[in-house]
């Protein structure tokens, strides 16, 4: 179990004012959704929270200690990041790619052993990728690669998940599967924060929401307090119609 805390955090987006400093705490069991239009800084926020970018001001603390003072290896044992963009360097198989999730746990002289392989296989199984294990990553479809990125973080087994649009490229069934997986992780005492573009997935699966506006303004809170149609309409500059299905609100663009 770990907690990740943003204290008076202002992310560094060149040419933008400071907006509102974030005081957010990601606690075990919570599923946070970050909503906002394109360019609002969702990815920058996740990267800043993961310690991959320096904030303009404020601090990120992991289990009470400043993130900037922790070694990357220590951070990687507790915090995993699903990237929105992926770069293939050299060809690698699906299994090899999932296995690199164990990197933070292995000493320099250690080779991946049976235990690492077992964790990777279990993660591939969970994401319906077992039949592709021997395939080269470059030959996969966009959705399969997205699932592989999630399987790699599942192999990494962090207490904190930061996921940048985890449902990108996924078909309807796998979108639901991935959201269920993340919710399951949270209910097992881990915590998730993800950027989303789909309001309905956010309404259905997130316990907390952070709304990020293009000018740096922000508001956050529990999902039910944040899912106010007027606030969402202002966020996206898009009028919305709301319906209730299965006990959750469904938002569609109004005509």
């Amino acid at each position: 179990m770990s907690r990740l805390e943003a204290r008076r955090l202002v992310i560094d987006i060149p040419g933008r004012g400071d907006g509102r400093a974030l005081d957010v705490c990601l606690e075990p069991g919570q599923v946070w959704g970050v909503l906002g239009p394109n360019g609002a800084g969702k990815t920058t926020l996740l990267h800043t929270l993961a310690g991959l970018r320096a904030p303009r001001s404020g601090q990120v603390r992991l289990d009470g200690r400043p993130l900037s003072g922790l070694g990357r290896r220590q951070v990687a044992r507790r915090l995993g990041l699903v990237f929105q963009e992926r770069h293939d360097g050299f060809p690698a198989t699906v299994r090899e790619t999932a296995l690199i999730g164990r990197h933070p746990y292995l000493s320099p002289w250690q080779m991946e052993g049976a235990e690492e392989l077992r964790l990777a296989e279990a993660a591939l199984e969970r994401l319906d990728l077992t039949h592709l294990a021997e395939r080269l990553v470059g030959t996969l479809s966009g959705g399969e690669r997205q699932r592989l990125a999630i399987a790699t973080v599942l192999t990494q087994a962090p207490a904190l998940w930061l996921a940048d649009e985890p449902t990108n490229h996924l078909d309807l069934h796998h979108q639901t599967e991935v959201m269920a997986l993340l919710a399951e992780e949270a209910s097992a005492g881990r915590a998730v924060m993800m950027c989303l573009h789909d309001l309905n997935l956010a309404a259905r699966w997130c316990s907390h929401l952070l709304l990020l506006y293009p000018d740096g303004e922000a508001c956050w809170g529990s999902a039910e307090t944040m899912l106010v149609p007027a606030a969402l309409e202002a966020l996206y500059g898009q009028r919305l119609a709301t319906a209730w299905v299965d006990g959750a609100p469904v938002f569609v663009p109004a005509r």
Partner: protein
Amino acid sequence: MVALTRPLGGLALVALAALVLSLALGSVSLSPGEILAVLRGQGGPLAQTLILELRLPRSLSAFAVGGLLAVAGALMQVLLRNPLADPYVLGLSGGASVGALAAMLAGVGGLVVTGGAFAGALLSTLLVFGLAHGRGGWTPARLLLTGVVVAAGWGAVITLMLAVTPADRLPGMLYWLMGDLAYARAPWPPLALLLAVCLLVVPLGRSLNVLARGPLQAAALGVSVRRLEWGIYLGASALTAMAVTSAGSIGFVGLVVPHMLRLLLGNDQRLILPACALAGGSLLLLADTLARTVIAPEQLPVGVITALLGVPTFLYLLYRSQ
């Protein structure tokens, strides 16, 4: 572990065979039995001189230089995540050549040429890295582009130097530019460096595998990216400088050997880097043996042979892998 030891064992046998061949062939051919006798301290004085003073130092130098070039190329390719990168593309050998040719042009030889090559390689390293860094860190594309442009600049300087050189000094310079192991008489420094690097990359190998997937992904998986990248760049530069200093400018080994091995063995750097040391060494050793025997007593520039051997092999492997 079996997956690592078998290919490396095979390559080690190839390297050993290449070494025996290079000791046996030449103006006077020797049998493996005679070579073994000399290495045990027996054999006639002619064979003693031939092997211990002439062929063995040159063979070991060729092996070490080939290994260094291949490992340096493989490291640069990981650093830039670009299969086209190698120390030559990045301008290191250009800088070294300018340094060495300047010394030759000034009419001094021996150690000054060596020192000039080393200084040129280091200058080029600092130039490329410093310029590519600019403000706000460097990206692989920018580093590669800076290297290519700096290399082109060195190329122009080399042409200029050749144009103003008196005709009697030209052959020596041309041979140096195409790689020449005839004066490589001190195999131990490059061999020691090669061994040290091979031992160092074993623990670093997995981090390099992760780095090959991009710096952000690597940082998210616990790699200290900036430190590792600097280490690779400076390390690969030192390997190149040592290789160029020993044997002049030999192209192609650093680009082709890592590629061939990746096509055959996959992309685990823990396997690829030591395999590069063995295969690069063997390739240059065989090429040098050919270079000094094909039209004996004349010698060919070894760089010509590496290219003539490497290009068709590489194209065949590439064609087959599709």
